[in-house]
Symmetry: C2
Subunit: 465 residues, 2 copies
């Protein structure tokens, strides 16, 4: 019934799909098949089972570590069992940064511990730590405008609050603070930096996350850590009760020689045009504090679940190849994405469309694209197929997930299935990113949308460039 | 208006208050005054300001530590500034148990860290830790029924889930597990014990809390720690994927010689019968992981806030003395409550009523009592006064807060203002017990109820025994 209704919707729209060559359009038969895929997605919890397996059997999997290597092994075995082909690990190197000891406390006037975590890439304080008066700033911008005298010898503390939103739009501004504070603080003569966690949780979890990468040791920045929201509040209150407030910070991360990381690739080989690739990705690595369930186990489950659905459901594989890429080392600077773009430079022109799931497990609510203008009717046709999933048509300025950056810059057409991320930043990069934050049904709508999208993009022979 | 309506309610009820001697009943004038107190409570955030001050200026305050001593100093200063009299610290000794290092990990087959915290009073594993296969039990009862062979040399893991409820009734059963597991495990030859945290939070916080106290070193129990709910789930899943699961546990707490703790006492001296005491309490100590905002900073704020309201609002102090007792060392076995009962044994007969606030910051929804039967009409009259606060009359089997145990056993009449505790066990005893979990207005209803109760109990000369 749903299939029929969608087909009517499509036919009654003004999209001139029937005027094109049949294989370059979204045909009624393709819509029926896409609807069958979407129906099937509601009846399986395959994606959840995959996230369960990854987060339990591997757990945290920081870029460049032995745990990430185990995740690659897991991915190879999982892809094999799901029926993907041409499975391989594409190795590259990544800077290896390992968290060490970490603690902080208010030394005076109100002695008590503070909960923190070192920012990814931070310099070490050494085991003795640093102890200094705290200078608070409401934003990174305020620190940048301050004078050297104001923070010389002090620990700067940026108390900027991240804004909650469905589309995660508060993240960009918040990330600036995480990326930059250590270097601005160093330039102004501070001895360490604390930031209010980049996140929206009211619970006492510090959010990890990468700082800007800089080249030389002299530009390493001061040791930098994130306070939980509750501890940031506590520090603000302490400063209101009495000054000076002296804090001791101990973080001893180590930057080691580059280590092996890798992207794991598997395919559903196209029946007619195997060299034309519809890429669907997620990232395999996670931060080290949680088990990487919402970031990005969910994405791994969604894209593998969608691939599995195509393999199990379709009477014949699509014309084009569907390539699943589980990127390594996303969290530490999209290192796997850069490696993929370099290693596959010669065939990027054959990448007809790319999509990535990397925003947790919330429902998809909008479909954006980045394709050549004359193919917008095709995108509208895909949007019409997705409509029963409560997915609205969006715009043609899709950016895709973070791992699609270099593909996008190389001209690969992009599709974005935007998820509701209201609570995404409550969990992501924290110790609280665990499997219990995901419900099986939450992933099924995502699987349905991805299955329909990648099937349609791989079954048509339209050129989206 | 509210005062007038309540007075009507009282008069139209069948309670024969006007037939008694005026001072032993709840008179219309007293009701009017109580209502004025309740109205005033809505217009001040005094209780919140007190919790803010305690949790910021002192923070965590574990029994017997220097931090608890600072809390006593804080309390003396706060009581002084609020206008209480006869302020003193009543010192006693408490076993001093200090948390050390703590970590746990799955060694095989799925290496990854687990989040734990040592149970209060636990033995140490030593810095080398213990490493052993995990044997899971669905409950303490199941462990108790197992054979020695089943757990010999293993780490037992009790996966019992605590039930969420308004009245906290799930806590008693859950606490049995926390108190007893280390000893049962020791008797059966296990090397360590893990329990699913006694708590209802889905967030990744381990819940601290006291084990049973036993006398001798040979009965110290095995080292015992609580897993967060997410980590308990993870361990259960790991066991489902593959056995054996080997865990390494490192906890190095120390049991030190007894240290000084104390109760802090302050009074509103009765104008006619100063030797008759209406005791209102909360506990000053907290567990060490959070800042003790809901447990029991809220209670401290509520009872001090209510006392302050009486001091500021009443045209004359009540006939009887209102004694505020901030108990020390509640968390480690109601040590302060026992000391109070011993130190005041000679005057317990003069304690006409006792109440304690120790269940967080939720609204009060019921009023229970434990008084002599013929004074139930008086309790009903108090209940009628509290009714506009949405507080229902309860029963006459009140137990009071934990610190009232010895007073109750000594025959002191008890009043219980029962709070809604749906979310109390999400926070209590965890690192997440911080000020942001309380909203100022949430405490005002509590202050209103306590102010009315203690005023009425102290203004009447009725004997509740």
């Amino acid at each position: 019934m749903r299939s029929f209704m969608c087909w009517i919707v499509l036919l009654s729209s003004s999209i001139p799909v029937l005027a094109e060559d049949i294989s370059t359009s979204i045909t009624p038969a393709m819509v029926i098949t896409a609807n069958q895929l979407m129906d099937s997605a509601q009846r399986t919890n395959e994606a959840y089972a995959i996230v369960d397996s990854l987060t339990t059997e591997v757990g945290p999997r920081l870029a460049g570590t032995e745990a990430e290597a185990r995740a690659r092994q897991w991915a190879v075995e999982k892809m094999t069992s799901l029926g993907l082909k041409n499975i391989r690990v594409e190795i590259f190197e990544v800077p290896l940064w390992l968290r060490g000891e970490e603690s902080a406390k208010i030394v005076s006037p109100f002695p008590q511990p503070l909960t923190i975590t070192a920012l990814g890439g931070s310099a070490s304080t050494g085991p003795q730590g640093v102890e200094a008066e705290v200078a608070v700033f409401e934003s990174l911008a305020a620190l940048e405008q301050s004078s050297q005298g104001a923070v010389q010898g002090k620990i700067v503390f940026i108390d900027e609050v991240m804004v909650r939103s469905r589309d995660g739009s508060g993240y960009g501004a918040a990330v600036l603070k995480r990326r930059q504070t250590a270097y601005t603080a160093q330039r102004l003569g501070a001895v360490a930096a604390l930031i209010r966690s980049v996140g929206t949780s009211s619970h006492r979890f510090a959010h990890a996350g990468q700082m800007k990468r800089v080249g030389s040791a002299v530009e390493a920045g001061v040791p930098a850590a994130a306070l939980t929201a509750a501890d940031a509040d506590q520090l603000v209150r302490s400063l209101a009760y009495a000054k000076p407030v002296v804090v001791k910070l101990v973080i001893t991360p180590r930057l080691l020689p580059p280590a092996a990381s890798g992207n794991v690739v598997g395919e559903i080989v196209g029946r007619e045009r195997p060299h034309e690739i519809v890429l669907v990705g997620a990232h395999l690595d996670s931060w080290d504090l949680g088990t990487g369930a919402v970031d990005d186990g969910a994405g791994v489950g969604i894209v593998l679940g969608a691939a599995k659905l195509l393999i199990d459901t379709l009477p014949q594989f699509p014309r084009r190849t569907v390539r699943v890429v589980l990127f390594g080392s996303e969290e530490v600077g999209v290192v796997g994405a850069r490696a993929y773009a370099q290693q596959h430079e010669a065939t990027l022109a054959n990448h007809v469309l790319a999509a990535e799931s990397d925003f947790g497990s919330g429902d998809i609510w909008r479909f954006d694209s980045r394709v050549v203008e004359e193919k917008l009717p095709l995108m509208a046709a895909i949007a019409a197929v997705l409509k029963p999933l409560d997915i609205a048509p969006g715009n043609n300025t899709a950016r895709g997930g973070p791992d699609l950056r270099f593909l996008r810059e190389a001209g690969v057409p992009i599709a974005s299935l935007l998820q509701d991320g209201q609570d995404y930043f409550d969990f992501h990069h924290t110790a609280d990113d665990t499997l219990d934050k995901i419900t099986p049904s939450a992933l099924n709508q995502n699987v349905a949308a991805y299955a329909a999208l990648i099937y349609l993009a791989a079954e048509t022979t339209a050129d989206f460039r």
